[in-house]
């Protein structure tokens, strides 16, 4: 049941996006998050959508995989849509049915905001699907490096991040395993009243916590015994390489931003 999760998962493939410098990918995502807010009409949203799907195509991650992985999130998107549909009371009335009244503005905002939400999720998934956690951390560490001057613990933060990213899949597997073991002992995670189901969480959570703490301790010992003592003077095995494609990708995004700026109303 945990098989389908795609967060924190890396899908190996040969693609431009895979080969981009993690720094440029991070910058790209960050800028994309800002640019999304430029769109405010059909045309601009259309352009953003096209751009997003173009990026997915470039990444060569099978769209079916993304679709199945994002299904649960899709529910949230649809929920956002309905929230706006029912709660926004501006513009003309589109139709009335019993106590439900749908306003034009509600429909518009509902569609746009859920689309915006959806595109953001898609783009960030492309980042995590095409970049190994280690690359992301390396990129982030390098981007944040200037903050070292103000005594911000960049290296520690990056390390913390890479460790947590590294253990997400492990935790998922562990959850799956313990769920199966307790199911075999008659626990029921999938049906029954909510009150009962909350109770079945305990046999799952406690073993998970116990093993996580144990794992954290073991990791700390293993790191110390291999002589780890913080980031100072530590050289890097993986070197980051900013290439032409990185500049080109950012330039493309800049062009998109410009067009959006010109076409927005």
């Amino acid at each position: 049941m945990m098989d389908k999760m795609i967060f924190g998962r890396y899908v190996p493939a040969e693609s431009v996006i895979h080969r981009m410098d993690p720094r440029s990918k991070l910058v790209l995502i960050f800028l994309f998050v800002c640019i999304v807010f430029l769109a405010n009409n059909l045309l601009t949203y259309g352009l953003l959508t096209v751009y997003t799907f173009f990026m997915i195509a470039l990444s060569k991650v099978p769209i079916r995989f993304i679709y199945t992985g994002l299904k649960p999130v899709l529910l949230l998107v649809i929920f956002t849509l309905f929230l706006h549909l029912f709660l926004t009371k501006e513009g003309e009335v589109l139709f009335r049915f019993g106590w439900i009244t749908i306003y034009e503005e509600g429909l518009r905002q509902g569609i746009f905001i859920s689309l915006r939400f959806f595109l953001l999720i898609l783009m960030t998934s492309i980042l995590t699907l095409t970049t190994t956690p280690i690359e992301i951390t390396d990129g982030l560490e390098s981007l944040l490096n200037p903050l070292n001057k103000v005594k911000f613990p960049v290296h520690e933060l990056a390390l913390m991040m890479s460790i947590s990213l590294r253990f997400i899949p492990t935790l998922m597997q562990e959850t799956d395993k313990i769920m199966k073991a307790q199911t075999a002992r008659g626990a029921d995670f999938t049906s029954g009243p909510i009150k009962e189901r909350i109770k079945t969480i305990i046999p799952l959570l406690i073993p998970l916590f116990v093993s996580s703490f144990k794992r954290a301790e073991e990791l700390a010992v293993a790191m110390e015994s291999r002589g780890y003592r913080g980031g100072e003077g530590r050289t890097k095995y993986r070197q980051l390489n900013w290439g032409l494609k990185d500049t080109a990708m950012l330039a493309m995004l800049a062009a998109l931003a410009l067009v959006l700026f010109l076409l927005r109303t």
């Binding site: 995989f65 075999a184 073993p207």
Partner: protein
Amino acid sequence: MDISLQNVEYRYQVNTPFERPAIKDVSIDIPSGTFLAIIGHTGSGKSTVLQHLNALLKPTEGQVVIGERKIIPEKKQKNLKEIRQRVGIVFQFPEHQLFEETVEKDICFGPMNFGVSEEEAKKRARAAIGQVGLPEEILSKSPFDLSGGQMRRVAIAGVLAMEPDVIVLDEPTAGLDPRGRKEIMDMFYSLHGTRGLSTVLVTHSMEDASRYADQIVIMHNGEVYKKGTPKEIFSSPEGLLKLGLDVPEVVRFQLKMEKSLNIRLSKTCLTMDELTDEIAAVMKRGTAT
């Protein structure tokens, strides 16, 4: 309860780029009362097979028949509790599944999920803790204060207390000391006899497989490579050795002896007694066949 796997295939992570069959075309019959051992390299699909035995996994191809229930890919299954109660699985490293405040409560978790009263569950807990060779005082302790080996036994007791008809063991003795291993295996074997259970054992120990099992299945790359009685399996050990799997020590000794003395005994011996009798017979006759 009879269990039978018919041409079972299972794929993990369907619809993802990682999809591939973990087991394919696996057919195994486990009539009531059988002691079946499954052997195979790490990653050969043993644990995946086991999870079909109580419908934790639904085959993606083929079918699994558990008692009267038929598990097929197309149909969503409901009310699997009865199956789960009748087929108890002891997972690899079962100590990871402990969660209660006390050992007693943890052992009672299974039975009570299946509708056994608290009183009865406690009675079973006391019986089970004795079966796995732990003192009764341990029942009031926290499972997290125990040693690894004790935790393992408690987890096993938790499955025994469910009083299943079929007991499925995934390397139950991995990581235990030699005496502990023997104790646990002997316990399962005597339970198998006295309660008339079916037992399915995944093991890396050829000794255990040849000593306890009536039937052996060898898995290789997700497929059944060979199945038969221990005698059948170990009497032509070449295939096993080619896969890089071991044979029991007695068989290995016999093979070496036959080779260096350039003789052949009349049969493959699985126990030390059998082998000594055979050797004695040969010496009496003066020649081997």
